[in-house]
Symmetry: C2
Subunit: 327 residues, 2 copies
């Protein structure tokens, strides 16, 4: 039996969440619901113009690992923080929920990454990311023992942005397959797909077993406006491809089958940050616990529904209790 | 006309808010609803054992200033942060809402203070405070121009804890009176009253114009179990004394009069952190805007009701809009 269900590898960061209206997005030239990379200067400048916020640990794959832990799974995480206050917060929050996060040697480089998240009244989140210490993730940070100890290594597409993280990503994928494990990838963001389309196409076909994409990301990957065409395109490229479609539920594409999964009901959507991250958590938890694909989709939908019903991208209540009755 | 309505002086800090049950309080020997001072080592040790949290700017008098700003008032703040990430967060959040917070020279001393807040299911908050940079507040930080530019200088009882802050406190009070301004004090916490009872009794009688205390703090100050006796004891000691009584509303004691103010209705109490801070904000806003004492109490109650209806000790919605219709 593997020591861990899922090992997440990603850009570690702390989210700064603020509420603002669409006028602020327009004023700052922000594209709603996207993630944009920014440099330290722009991060400072933008932060100065944002309203008061709250700080919460984030990072896409780290959120997924928090979800795995909340579901009762065994998760581990590799990501780079600096030895500063936000780095301590990030490490605390991950370890406190039971995710194995090995201490990294202190770095004298950039501070812990921050993601400035503007939540508009329609619950959409618009993100500007300063990668900070994330820029220093290298192949040396990928511990082969950790990779082979996990049933699935889960990688975020965002890792394709920092120069050396890409190599770390490929090393982790290769090690996982050598150990007879599976590799999972989330495409992360439409802009991210546009930046790296050719490489992502190659990744999906040759390195990934379980792919997560939302509808817009998949359409962008295959440069089509037709969901059917995109589904046809991805089918067979990897073992399982999952397309999330917000309130329209999700599709699970495996072999010749397509499973249609309903979205779980949400009384009031507060903040959509983390919806994809927690969907992935639920799905991978199911997959590593011997559930069939429709059940994986149901657990995923419940986890996603919980996280969008409150501010922040990590579960507020025990997902394990939440799925107990229904999945 | 004064440039500022209220100048707050206090221990600047960032709150780390976690949800936990009463078992954790017992295990850690925490006294529910109190504030306890802790050293850096104990702060680290305790933090390691707490569940994941969120970080939000706090500090009693700073919360009050955020309330003043949210009500449309002109607030300024003096308090000490370090030149670190939490210090930047604290300064950002205060300035972003429009509070004047003059930059302080960088210090090589302790990091920005933290308050570890455990919120139990009954919405009570139990606080452990590491003062950090707050320990370095000295009389030199009290800018006489700022004090004389504010109608009221508002001081938190917590300032009596760091050794030199006490002198800063007395300097601010003396400067305010020299400039013909008023001095306001909140007793802050029962333990704080117990630590400094004799000095607080002297302060209230000789240096304070407007006193805020909750019922337990006032009973502790006058070492009595009778609210009537405590009210009799405080009457005439300062121009206005306000006793807050949670869901039982508040009493405003001025000259021979006692005004009874109802608590504002709250549908669901989530986190009582900041109730007293925001009550003071509403009251001082009313007082500096020519409202009569019962109206000050009504504004205060509405501001307090808003802050206990969500997590964190600062308003989430515009208090100015909230009081528009009713006060």
């Amino acid at each position: 039996m593997a020591e861990f269900d899922v090992l997440g590898v990603g850009n570690a960061m702390v989210d700064v969440i603020v509420h603002a209206d669409d006028a602020l997005l327009q004023r700052e030239g922000m594209v709603k619901a996207s993630m944009q990379l920014i440099e330290a200067d722009r991060a400072r400048e933008l932060y100065d113009r944002l309203p008061p916020g709250i700080e919460v640990s984030g990072g896409s794959a780290a959120n997924t690992m928090a979800g795995i832990a909340s579901l009762g799974g065994r998760g581990a995480y590799i990501g780079k923080v600096a030895d500063d206050q936000l780095g301590q917060v990030f490490a605390h929050d991950l370890r406190a929920i039971g995710v194995h996060f090995p201490p990294a040697p202190a770095t004298s480089g950039p501070p812990t990454g921050r993601c400035l998240i503007v939540v508009t009244p329609d619950a959409q989140r618009t993100m500007h990311t300063y990668l900070g210490a994330g820029l220093e993730l290298t192949p040396d940070d990928i511990d082969p023992d950790l990779v082979s100890a996990a049933q699935i290594t889960f990688l975020e597409g965002y890792l394709w942005d920092p120069p050396l993280a890409k190599q770390a990503f490929l090393k982790a994928a290769a090690l996982a397959h050598e150990a007879g494990r599976r590799v999972s990838l989330t495409l992360s963001d439409t802009f991210c797909v546009e930046r790296h389309r050719a490489e992502f196409l190659d990744l999906v076909e040759h390195h990934v077993d379980v792919l997560f994409a939302n509808e817009r990301e998949l359409l962008s990957l295959y440069e089509t406006n037709s969901l059917d065409a995109a589904v046809d395109a991805v089918r067979g490229k990897c073992e399982i491809a999952i397309v999330t479609r917000s309130e329209h539920g999700s599709l699970i594409i495996a072999g010749g089958d397509t499973h249609v999964v309903q979205a779980a009901p949400v009384e009031h959507v507060v903040d959509t940050t983390g919806a994809g991250d927690l969907y992935a958590a639920g799905f991978l938890f199911g997959l590593t616990h011997g559930r069939d694909l429709p059940a994986c989709g149901r657990i995923a939908s419940i986890a996603a529904a919980e996280v969008i019903s409150h501010l922040g991208a990590r579960p507020e209540i025990s997902l394990s209790r939440l799925i107990g009755a229904v999945a």
